[in-house]
């Protein structure tokens, strides 16, 4: 049995059983390692990806349920202002939490181009960062938002 879905804009047919966690499919079948295992319990956000633009914990989402849908992983963020903003702010210590956070941040910026600090915090609150990098991460998202808004204004 196979499942057809779109991953980062491209059609993908995966052979894993439909009940396999999307996270395992992305990492082991499609070799997309950006979504990370943190808990498998929908509690930390390390595995966050977008399904049709909405943040989803891929550790607990069966791949069969995303058949026909569009999955976006951090690998698709090449060149996105968010990535540069995280580098500019040096928003990372160990870095394990960051790819999941980038996905929630992208979903936020796609729907609210000029979010306030409170909106950013709310969008990221399902993510844990054990290194205590949250302060810089919030700044990085603010910076990316400003850059996107500048770009849009031109």
């Amino acid at each position: 049995m196979s499942t057809d879905l779109t991953v980062n804009g491209r059609a993908a047919r995966v052979t894993a059983e439909p009940t396999t966690p999307l996270l395992d499919v992305l990492r082991n079948e499609l070799d997309l390692k950006g979504a990370r295992y943190g808990c498998g319990l929908e509690q930390c956000g390390a595995c966050m990806v977008l399904v049709d633009g909405e943040p989803v914990f891929s550790c607990a989402r069966e791949v069969g349920t995303v058949a026909g849908h569009a999955v976006t992983t951090v690998e698709a963020l090449d060149g996105h202002p968010l990535r540069q903003a995280f580098l500019d702010e040096q928003a990372g210590q160990c870095g394990y939490c960051l790819t999941g956070i980038l996905m929630s941040a992208k979903a936020l910026l796609d729907r609210a181009p000029r979010p306030g600090r409170d909106e950013i915090v709310a969008a990221l609150d399902k993510h844990l960062c054990r290194c205590g990098t949250q302060y810089r991460i919030i700044r990085a998202v603010e910076r990316a938002a400003a850059r996107l808004a500048d770009g849009a204004g031109r």
């Binding site: 894993a16 059983e17 396999t20 966690p21 395992d24 990492r27 082991n28 070799d31 997309l32 390692k33 950006g34 990370r36 295992y37 943190g38 808990c39 498998g40 319990l41 509690q43 930390c44 390390a46 951090v74 690998e75 963020l77 090449d78 990535r83 995280f86 580098l87 040096q90 990372g92 210590q93 160990c94 870095g95 394990y96 939490c97 960051l98 790819t99 980038l102 600090r117 915090v121 709310a122 990221l124 609150d125 993510h127 844990l128 960062c129 054990r130 290194c131 205590g132 990098t133 949250q134 302060y135 810089r136 991460i137 919030i138």
Partner: protein, 705 residues
């Protein structure tokens, strides 16, 4: 510098050839034993090498933590990477430069001082010589031992060190594969472990058929004594098997725990190894003030559960691990597996932040045990979240009683810190066991818990002696070997609880003397200008002079320590709001870390330490159930969330470039815990002396009031 004063790392590996190589692609290949654990050390070490050699930062490549290829620098711990590892790299690269330039000077028949180095190329009288490191180094003996006699560059000449440099590992971590968890090798088998619930527990029965049914795919169940591994080519199958396995195993002789044992107070009065450190008893006569402070067991709680890979091929065992020390791990593996160390290679691969001794080394033994039983496969062990919370060594609970004899002016004339604690370091090299060793057919003997010596900065005693000028100071240390769970190094070791206690107590003494907390501290720091400077600075940053009387639910507090009483100085001020819970509004920090290699990298570590300490102080507490750790997920072990991060946080580095470079990974934790404690006391007019400051604790204190 005499040969005896070589930093440890260099004394153990005196040949520059072990550290530095010039590769044909015009890069410098630096090999180091210290490893990246999220602190940015590899970036800082590259800066140091680029500085001494006068090559571009981008021309320095680095390899770290590898028993085949890198020098033995023991473990990456205690904020010593920059002090010890950084000094070694500085001396080695300075020596290499001198040797290469001496050779060129000989060729050109000039003095070495006549040669200038720009981007790795050599100039004489402003003219290119056509020579560079890569052309001259092959003629130079880099294997001959360095004696550390070569003077590195003067600080005034620095152009790379002291400038913020971006972390070199960050781009990959933002993009995708970057961690040990992402490694793939041929013949990969995914493994999960069914853990022995406690030392000495025996597996009475295992329903393998039921586990296979739950796994839903091809699964190999490997039993070796009381060690059980679940193996599959399909990770999902292995994971499902692991989720089901505990429910299909029955164990005998399982240790029983009670929730009372999770409290620090349980340790008090247990059989203990006792020591008196510092001035002898009895204390001076006079009025005595006393208070007791506690912190519970705390988890490292890495966001990425431990992982390791191992394979046995042609009699050689290769292990990939996010350990803090590849050589100590190799020795431990050799002992447990009864193999010669030369038949084992350990390669460091980055994992998520560890904050001390977590499950990393245990996972490496898991993988190595399986690899020796299932050769010619690459065994990838991934701990589950529940494994990491349930089985990693914990930071010990501590009960700290501060007792001061005060003089007529209300100043401490004599100070005793009485500490009850489990061990703070049980790495295998310090008498601890790797976890799986206890489950093997020939199990490890019971561990002999010890604690780091005072010369190594102490464990449970770390920072318990006040930095302040007090005529008599001592520690009564009770090391409890029978702590109910395995404990080991967690960021800051005993310093977190001790500084929380000490600095809370300073505020209590100041209040008793009717003095302002900052002025009271400064009055006892006449002999320590660097300490006084960071305290005064953070008070200024926080607008201390405008601090109100308190008691109205808003509070401002301060905390200070010189880490290990010999490393970086840090003062932290915290502003809180308290109603039913504590809300951290703003934080300021002033730190003096001597010579700073990478200012932004350092600030990043100060900030991380502050937020992690805020998490410890406000939220964290491991709980026990009947058979072990009960808090095995993020719901039962909550940590600081984005919505709880202060809106404002400012960290400032006080300039001291002529002073020795000091590590800062741990220096802010104790001061932050104390600053929050003091701020909460200021806000409430009542003090909470037990971490964490949960809703229940606040309610209890308010009820008393």
């Amino acid at each position: 510098m005499s040969a005896t004063a070589l930093p440890l790392s260099l004394a153990a590996n005196p040949s520059p050839a072990k550290w530095v190589r010039f590769d044909p692609d015009r890069t410098v290949h630096l090999s180091v034993g210290k490893v990246e654990i999220g602190q940015g050390i590899l970036t800082a070490l590259r800066q140091i090498a680029a500085e001494e050699l006068d090559v571009a930062l981008s021309a320095v490549r680095i390899l770290s933590g590898d028993t085949d290829l890198a020098p033995d620098e023991a473990s990456t711990t205690s904020s010593l990477s920059i002090e010890v590892g950084g000094t070694a790299v500085r001396l080695v690269t300075a020596e290499v430069r001198v040797r290469v330039l001496a050779r060129l000077a000989q060729r050109l028949n000039c003095a070495p001082d006549d040669i200038a180095v720009i981007d790795g190329a050599f100039y004489r009288g402003g003219q290119p010589t056509g020579q560079d490191y890569w052309s001259v180094a092959p003629e130079v003996d880099l294997a001959r031992a360095a004696d550390g006699a070569t003077a590195p560059k003067p600080v005034a000449a620095y152009r790379v060190v002291g400038q913020s440099a971006p972390r070199l590992d960050l781009p990959a971590k933002l993009a995708g594969a970057a961690f040990i968890q992402d490694m793939v090798r041929p013949d990969l088998l995914h493994a999960r472990i069914l853990r022995q619930p406690s030392r000495g527990a025996r597996l009475a029965a295992l329903d393998e058929a039921a586990i296979r049914r739950a796994a839903g795919g091809a699964l190999r169940v490997l039993r070796h004594g009381n060690f059980v591994a679940l193996l599959s080519e399909n990770e999902t199958v292995a994971q499902r098997a692991a989720m089901a396995a505990p429910g299909h195993a029955s164990w005998e002789n399982v240790r029983q725990l009670t929730p009372a044992q999770q409290a620090a107070a349980w340790l008090v009065g247990q059989p203990s190894d006792d020591r008196v450190i510092g001035d002898p008893l009895p204390p001076a006569a006079g009025p005595v003030v006393e208070a007791t402070y506690t912190r519970p067991y705390i988890a490292h709680a890495s966001i990425g559960p431990s992982c390791a890979l191992a394979e046995l091929r042609d009699g050689h065992l290769s292990v990939w691990s996010h350990t803090q020390g590849v050589y100590p791990l190799r020795n431990a593996l050799a002992r447990v597996l009864d193999r010669k160390a030369e038949t084992i290679s350990v390669h460091h691969v980055q994992g998520a932040g560890c904050y001390g001794h977590n499950g990393a080394d245990d996972a490496a033994l898991d993988a190595a045990v399986i690899a020796t039983l299932v050769p010619d496969h690459c065994i990838r062990v991934q701990w589950r979240r529940e494994d990491e919370f349930g089985f990693e060594p914990l930071g010990s609970a501590m009960s700290v009683t501060m007792r001061a004899v005060v003089d007529a002016a209300g100043r401490p004339a004599d100070w005793t810190a009485e500490i009850w604690s489990g061990s703070h370091v049980q790495r295998p090299a310090m008498g601890g066991n790797l976890l799986a060793h206890e489950a093997l057919p020939t199990p490890a003997p019971d561990p002999r818990p010890t604690d780091p010596t005072e010369a190594a900065g102490g464990g449970g005693t770390r920072n318990a002696i006040p930095h302040y000028a007090i005529p008599g100071k001592r520690i009564l240390h009770h090391l409890v070997p029978g702590a109910p769970v395995r404990t080991s190094a967690l960021r800051g070791l005993g310093a977190v609880a001790n500084v929380f206690a000490l600095e809370s107590f300073m505020d209590e003494l100041a209040a008793r003397a009717g003095a302002d907390p900052v002025a009271y501290r400064l009055g006892l720091l006449g002999n320590s200008p660097r300490a006084a400077r960071v305290i005064a600075r953070v008070a200024e940053m926080a607008g201390w002079n405008a601090r109100g009387k308190g008691g109205d639910g808003r509070g401002l507090g301060i905390g200070f320590a010189q880490y290990k009483n010999r490393s970086a100085y840090a003062a932290v001020a915290a502003e809180v709001e308290v109603d039913q819970e504590v809300r951290l509004r703003r934080v300021w920090c002033a730190a003096d870390a001597g010579l700073v290699v990478n200012p932004d990298g350092l600030r990043n570590q100060l900030e991380g330490g502050i937020l992690q300490a805020a998490s410890f102080t406000l939220k964290e507490q491991v709980t026990f159930n009947a058979t072990g750790v009960g808090s095995i997920d993020w719901e039962s072990y909550p940590i600081l969330r984005f919505s709880e991060v202060p809106e404002e946080m400012t960290c400032e580095l006080v300039d001291a470039p002529e002073e020795r470079a000091l590590g800062v990974g741990e220096c802010t934790l104790g001061p932050t815990a104390a600053a929050i404690g003091n701020a909460v006391a200021h806000a409430l007019g009542m003090r909470i002396r037990d971490m964490p400051f949960t809703r229940d604790r606040i309610a209890a204190v308010l009820l008393q009031g």
